[in-house]
Amino acid sequence: MRRPALLGLGLVVAAGLGLCFHKAQDAAGAAIHFDRDSGAVEVEGLDRAGVAKLARAGLSAADWGALLAVYPGREATPGDHLPPMLGRYGVERGRVRFNPRFPLVAGLDYTARFDAALFKARFGGGGPGAAPAVVATFALPKAVPAAATEVAAVYPSGGELPANQLRVYIHFSAPMSAGEAASRIHLFDAAGREVPRAFLRLDQELWDPGRERFTLLFDPGRIKRGLRANLDEGAPLKEGVSYCLVIDRAWRDGRGEPLGAGFEKRFTVTAADRAAPDHRAWRLEAPPAGSAEPVVLCFPEPLDHALLGELIEVRDGRGGRVSGRAEVSAGETAWRFVPSAAWRSGPYHLRVNPALEDRAGNSLRAVFDVDLRAQEADQQGPGQILIPFEVRSPTE
């Protein structure tokens, strides 16, 4: 650790004292204050004429930084020519003031260093003798998290997954941090060996807008038939084998805190699913008129949890959208819709977007890996799928 040539008083200001101002002072009276509320750093006790001259000097950002520099960390003069923090400098009420550009990170140490010798040389004042540098280290107290973030759910929810399972959704109870997913999710086989490169790594992690749901993709190159990665390494999931998906407790949430607990999902692998879902095999249970009971759509296989929640809507006989609340249940084999107002007698229909996929990424339009010998290229597949149903009064 390097030391400055002129180290006056290095003072570590304890966090959490409940004081707005903390102070480090040199023998000649120059002192650094840290305002915990605004995050500003101020130097007071300077020669008044010198400060007035400084205020008129029109210093560049680099010159200001040479006079008063604030860095993350505890080093008074960090090595490797690290630049000081961005911020706005000025003179206020006879003090040199630095307002950091960004809010300080709670729990991280910061060090401010005022070069009193430079100030004296350029702006005068301060009496005879050397002017030592004034250094202060401070930190904002870290808030104690109210409750640890947990893995709230993992979909598919069932204990059996097809060998070409494409996506896994991990829901958290609070927003998470970015950039860690690849190192926090693991797949182990029944013998406890980690399956290497099971998942697609992406720089742009696939979070929902609130960063509470993470989309995990098995490496499509290993799932798709005939692709080199599939031939080289085989599909990551082998039929008949049991696996454990492990989520590390160390994964940090949006506040930088680890999860309350790790998470494990055990599952057994069944045969690969190479068939597009067929809506003709779905079963619809219509609700009675006058009730707010759900309309229920049941599928012979689990479908994608997220897409089920977004790609089916209810329309009345005139084509108007029916408002209400949809939920996915029964291990993603049922979709239920509860209307906001009671059903009226008459025709309705469900409008299903053909982008709806099963667990292996086979959509209503096409299977995930299209066999070009079996299907025409550029096929469009069906448009919106309409599933009519009749709401009748119980007496009918």
Binding site: P72, P78, D80, L82, P83, P84, M85, L86, R101, F102, L104, V105, L166, R167, S177, A178, G179, E180, L200, L202, Q204, L206, W207, D208, G210, R213, T215, D219, P220, G221, R222, K224, G226, L227, R228, A229, L231, D232, R252, G254, R255, G256, A306, L307, E310, L311, E313, G324, R325, A326, R351, N353, A355, E357, S363, F368, D369, L372, R373, A377
Partner: protein
């Protein structure tokens, strides 16, 4: 970022400021307005006409065009170097180095200033930023509080009718790459829900309420199964004399798509030119010249830099047979350049490419220049 040097299509570059009365303040170029763009995230970067910087905002499901007012000209062919760039950015932003995420790098072709899209922090309070590194290695923030900008919203659902009325959609498009070609911004992305590789086309200057045209992109693998895997990175290029896109895939192949078909088709099928070897994904592709001849350079997650000559790419036959063993390659051959850990790559000047590279010997992250003659 890739500004295809091999395909210099710079339409609409002369729009800015034309025919304005001298007494009036210059309006913002390209139909932009002054204000705060309010980026929700800063990811993929590309330099466009007139030095406009395009920034992909995956969280905000939008692409921004920023007038960064970078009019400097630097014709030198010297290298630039910033050692331990992650530590320097962390110091500048007042965080620990582990809380700096560098998402993309784009070198301005005229000024040679280097733009970086960065997150300050990883958590809920992360702040997206655009930083600029000068030739002297100095880093500064590109102020986004009052800047001329325009914004294009990206369609956020498989089709507009599909938007859920049952609550806020959790759907999001992760933008993997951008490039400006022939008056249009091309946006490659991947949804966090349905699995489709899409390429969006946006005419620039952005027009209000003009939705992106969405293309589904396929390439045949081994003449049997077609795939629409996500494009990780792509480069506007000339393939067999025709404008094309070279696309690098997460599941390893390199494929070419004729650009002419972009505008006429809704589904686009490409040709697989090479299998680059397993266990790897391409991070960046650029075009460059060496000894007066065109080449491409590919940065990879788990392999060295790869250099290919245009002549060999033009002679390529579609890859139709699988490789015989793990990690083998096929199709267009490449020179494995002895540089590893390159995470960001772009053209800098006539003699150098610029990279952000993790050094194996000490783990440091450095911005470096590599001579093109050695690529």
């Amino acid at each position: 970022m890739k500004l295809g040097r091999c395909l210099m299509i710079m339409a609409a570059a002369a729009v800015a400021g034309a025919g304005l009365a001298a007494s009036r303040p210059a309006p913002a170029p390209f139909g932009m307005t002054y204000g705060e763009p309010n980026l929700k995230s800063a990811g993929a970067l590309a330099v466009g006409p007139g030095g406009v910087l395009f920034v992909g905002d995956s969280v905000g499901a939008a692409v921004f065009a920023l007038d960064v007012k970078d009019q400097a000209k630097d014709e030198s062919a010297d290298p630039i170097e910033i050692k331990e760039i992650d530590k320097k950015i962390a110091s500048l932003l007042g965080v620990a180095p582990g809380d700096v995420l560098i998402h993309d790098l784009a070198a301005h072709p005229a000024s040679q200033n280097i733009y970086l899209s960065v997150s300050r922090g990883r958590g809920s309070d992360a702040i997206p930023l655009v930083l600029r590194a000068s030739r002297r290695g100095q880093l500064e923030e590109v102020p986004l509080q009052k800047i001329a900008f325009s914004k294009a919203d990206l369609a956020d659902a498989p089709d507009p009718e599909a938007k859920t009325q049952y609550g806020a959609s959790k759907r999001r498009l992760a933008i993997t790459d951008l490039a400006f070609v022939d008056g249009e911004l091309l946006v490659a992305g991947l949804s966090n829900q349905e699995f489709a590789s899409t390429l969006r086309r946006l005419p620039f200057p952005f027009k209000p309420n003009v939705a992106a045209t969405t293309l589904e992109i396929y390439h045949a693998s081994h003449n049997r199964y077609e795939t629409h895997a996500p494009i990780e990175t792509f480069l506007p290029y000339h393939f067999k004399g025709q404008p094309a896109l070279l696309a690098g895939y997460g599941c390893a192949p390199l494929a070419a798509f004729p650009l002419a078909e972009l505008k006429s088709k809704k589904h686009l099928r490409g040709t697989t030119l090479a299998e680059l070897g397993g266990g790897n994904r391409p991070l960046d592709i650029i075009g460059f010249q060496k000894n007066g001849k065109d080449h491409i350079l590919i940065a990879n997650s788990d392999r060295t830099l790869m250099s290919m000559s245009s002549e060999e790419i033009d002679r390529a036959q579609p890859v139709t047979t699988p490789v015989g063993a793990p990690y083998l390659t096929s199709g267009v051959g490449y020179v494995s350049v002895a540089e590893v850990g390159v995470m960001q790559l772009d053209n800098l000047n006539a003699n150098h490419v610029v990279v952000i590279q993790r050094r194996i010997s000490d783990g440091t992250l450095n911005l470096r220049s590599l001579p093109k003659k050695w690529m």
